[in-house]
Each structure stands twice: as C-alpha cells, then as structure tokens.
C-alpha cells in the first residue's frame, strides 16, 4: 500500500486505509518501545523543529521522545521568549528555520490555520501539533489507537464526547477521524459549549442529557474544561458542570460493562472526572493514551519522512 502524504494536518484528507496504516505502524513501534534499547536509527541525520508557539508540556514531550527514539535531531523552538514574541512575522520565522536545512516542522500555535500556512511557506513536512480551536491530528490518532487496542476495531462503536466541544481542537480532528473509521459519534454538552454547526464536523447526535446517552456508549471521551480558553463563562459554576456533565462513580452504573474512558489530559480532577473514574483499573485508558501518543507520533514521522527525497516507491 502507498502512503502519499507529506503533511499531517487535516485527517479528512486521509482514507480509512491510510489511518489504519498509521495505527499499524504505531503498533510496530510498540515493539521498539518495549525493548531495553527503545531506539531505532531510522531518522538519523534528519532534523525536526518542534515549533511550539503556545505552552504545551505534554504534547511537546511526547513528540520529543518520539523523535529521540527515531534518532533524529530535534530543535525546540518555543514562541515565548523568542523572535515570535518580539514581533517577527510567521513568514520570517519559518524562512529562518528553513535556512537551517531542516526536514520537518512540528507546530503548535494558538491560531487556527498556522500549520497549513507553514506548509505553504516552507516546503518541508509539517505536523500539526494543535492549532487554535481547529485541529489536533496526532491526538486523534492516539485516541483511535487506544480505542482500537481495546476493541480490535473502531467501526460500529458508539463514541460519546463530553464537554467543551466548541473550543476543542481535539474534536476538530477526532470527530472526523472517528467518522472516517466508521464509528458513531454523539457529543454531549450544553449549547453554550457547542460549535454553531456540529454536523459539519461529522457529529451524528447532539445531546445535553448525559445520563440518557451514557448507557449506549462504548467509549466515553471526557474533554478537559479549558478554563483558560473560555470567553465568558459558559456555565455558572464548576460544581454545576460537574453535576450535569462530570463522570463520577455515581454514574458508573449507567455505563456498559466494557465501556472505556478516554481523556486528552491534563485532567481537572473533580470537574470532568473524579478520582475513581480517572484511576479506574479497567475503564480508564488515560495512561494508555499517553503511551499511544509516542507510538503514533513515531509512526507519523516515519511515514511522512520516508522516501521524502524521491517520493515513495512502494
């Protein structure tokens, strides 16, 4: 099978087979990550810039580990304290970075559309590590990996996503990706946390009745309440949010016996999840997701950079 993508930005440009290939490749890297020497020389001599124009410890660490385990050299270029903050334009910053003869840029930015702009400007491979309220494809891939790991497949699963849908770049990638893979997606949120047209993302059902939907779900995906990003409070108190949309022990009886809990992290304990659910030994897949993050990011780098000089001859 061929893989003809240069960038990982919008998963809607990927087919189900291509997404499966990324997940299968991630599975190959699982074996590498479980050895004593968790490193392969595949990307030796490649240079990847982690351009994080917005603070993000988790995603950046995950990319860094993925890059190190592929033996590529990586440069962390953070927007704060750098030229970006001094008012340098995106164009100039990208051209400067490209003058170092780099092979890929992993970009996180608080503004939507920046990864595509960088792809257009730079000509190198671009991986979107989260842009504004738009997309976050590697998060979606690690979620798919985790779900597939549990159920062996994704098609036909009932996935419920609970929380701040409108401000979530995770949703921008995860919902379309789940649809490509054949899952059925319900979003559960008050209308103050919904985008204008959820169906544009591919959402099948919209509900504000968590207790009514919960019994049907195979995957309960709890979003983080991003307090730092909410313009005007969309609910009166965290207490009331927790009452209506929090997943806590007293809701467990409504869940399918096999249903799993995912969360993109970091968790607000006591708001969207209580300790019991967050640490549930069988249901909570939150740490599996973190691990999967390294695997899918290795897979993405490997597949995107492979054969880059000649195009792919499979």
């Amino acid at each position: 099978m061929g893989f003809n993508h240069k960038h990982l930005i919008d998963l809607r440009e990927y087919t189900a087979d291509e997404i499966s290939l990324i997940l299968d490749t991630a599975e190959r890297f699982r074996a590498v990550n479980e050895r004593r020497i968790k490193k392969v020389p595949t990307l030796k001599g490649y240079t990847v810039v982690n351009m994080f124009n917005e603070p993000s410890t988790r995603t950046r660490s995950s990319f860094e580990i993925a890059e190190k385990r592929l033996s590529c050299d990586s440069l962390n270029f953070s927007g704060s304290g750098s030229s970006v903050e001094k008012g340098e334009s995106l164009h100039d910053t990208v051209h400067t970075l490209c003058s170092y003869k780099i092979d890929a840029i992993v970009v996180r930015d608080r503004h939507a559309g920046v990864p595509q702009k960088i792809a257009d400007i730079s000509g190198v491979t671009v991986i979107d590590a989260g842009d504004g309220k738009h997309l976050h494809p590697t998060q979606a891939l690690l979620d798919l990996y985790t779900i597939r790991q549990k159920y062996g497949h994704i098609d036909g699963l009932q996935v419920g996503i609970v929380g701040d849908i409108s401000h979530s770049r995770v949703c921008g990638s995860l919902i379309p990706a789940l649809k490509i893979m054949g899952a059925e997606v319900t979003v559960i949120a008050p209308q103050t946390l919904l985008p204008a047209r959820p169906e544009v993302l591919g959402v099948d059902h919209v509900s504000s009745k968590f207790d009514e939907v919960l019994p049907q779900l195979d995957v309960v995906y709890m979003l983080r309440i991003q307090q730092e990003r909410l313009e005007g409070a969309p609910f009166p108190t965290l207490r009331e949010y927790n009452m209506l949309y929090g997943l806590s022990k007293d809701r467990e009886h409504l869940m399918k016996p096999e249903a799993i809990i995912c969360h993109p992290g970091p968790i607000n304990r006591g708001i969207e999840l209580d300790d019991y659910m967050a640490d549930h030994p069988t249901r909570s897949k939150i740490l599996d997701q973190v691990y999967a993050g390294v695997l899918v990011r290795m897979a993405a780098l490997y597949l995107l950079l492979g054969g880059a000089e000649d195009g792919i001859t499979a």
Binding site: D24, T25, V32, V40, L303, E309, I312
Partner: protein, 193 residues
C-alpha cells in the same frame, strides 16, 4: 513480455529443498549440535526459510530450536530514497543474550540488509555469536560481509534481479533471475506476486 524481460529459473523447488537440508546439516556440524542455537529469519522471505530450517533441524536432530523473525525496515540505510510502508514486524519470543544466532536471508547481494539486521539484532540483545545463512549468494558485496552457509553461489550481473519465490506466499517455489526493467529495484520480490 519482451525478450529482455525473460526470466531464468536458477533453482527449482527440489534444489532449494536439497540446499536447505545441506545448510541444516552444516549448522549442526559447525555448532557441534544445537545447544544454544536459535534461528532468526529476515522478513519477508528469510523468516519463511528459517521456519523450514527449524523443521529440518528437528527432523535431523529431534530438537526444536527457537525461531524468530526480524524486520529491518527501521534500520535500512536507504530510508530517504526508498521506502516501503508495508507493515512487518519483529517477533523474537526468546532472550537472544548469550545465544548463537543464525541469521537467515534469501538472497545475499550488497550486504546492506545484513548490516541493518546486525544493528537491529544488537538493539534487541547481546548474542554470543551471529552466523549468516543464505539461500543464494549473488555477489556484488558493498560491505565486508561473508556468509557462513550458502545454498548456491550464483554469479550475476548488476542489471539482473535475483528473486526467491516461496510456495507459502507466492504459490510456487523457485529462484529466478531476470533483467531489471527501468524503475525497478534489484531488491526482494514483493509478496503475492
């Protein structure tokens, strides 16, 4: 098919079978038995040959040696120019530390595959010794690599491709030589031809 593409069968199924039997005996002889010996085949056809060799060794000696397969795609030195996203896997379900590992490959050519396989193996553990068995040695080495067991020496030209086909995946067993067409690689045959 034009004449330049004409292929020549250099080893038929019976000849391959005989070579494998001989290699099995040589492995036994040179290691004075099978103590501490394990076979690791390089995907995508070395692993299948390794499987056959394990059976042969069991027939001869009554001992089933550990069998593993090694995917070298993460260790290739031509990642930038040649890349196959095919999904293979490394499965070595035993500890290789201190073992005598016999690496099995189908066609030995430049030696680069073996270089990659050695690196891959070293990242997995620390074998006491590594030996190399190949079904065909077609020459043209680019690295100082020498096989310990060879089924057949087959001098070839650089514009020829030498490929092994196996019943299990290809529906027939044979080693064939053919001229390389433009854009084609001299490396292994794709599965399911």
């Amino acid at each position: 098919m034009s004449e330049t593409n004409a292929k020549v069968v250099c080893m038929d199924a019976a000849e391959i079978e005989r070579s494998l039997t001989r290699i099995a005996h040589q492995i036994l002889e040179s290691n004075k038995g099978l103590k501490n010996v394990a076979l690791v085949g390089i995907v995508t056809r070395g692993d299948l040959l390794a499987k056959r060799l394990v059976q042969k060794l069991e027939q001869i000696e009554g001992v089933k040696v550990p069998l593993g397969k090694l995917d070298i795609s993460f260790y290739r030195d031509d990642f930038a120019t040649y890349f196959s996203p095919e999904v293979h896997s490394t499965e070595i379900p035993f500890d290789i530390d201190g073992k005598t590992i016999v690496l099995i490959d189908d066609i030995l050519f430049t030696g680069r595959t073996i270089r990659a396989a050695l690196d891959a193996l070293m990242d997995i553990g620390r074998p006491a010794c590594v030996q190399l068995a190949v079904l065909v040695d077609r020459g043209h080495r680019q690295l100082p690599i020498r096989p310990d067991y060879v089924g057949k020496n087959l001098p070839s030209s650089l514009d020829e491709s030498v490929r092994l086909f196996l019943e299990e995946v290809d529906g027939e067993t044979a080693v064939e030589v053919m001229r390389i067409q433009a854009g084609q690689r001299a490396g292994s045959a794709p599965l399911n031809r």
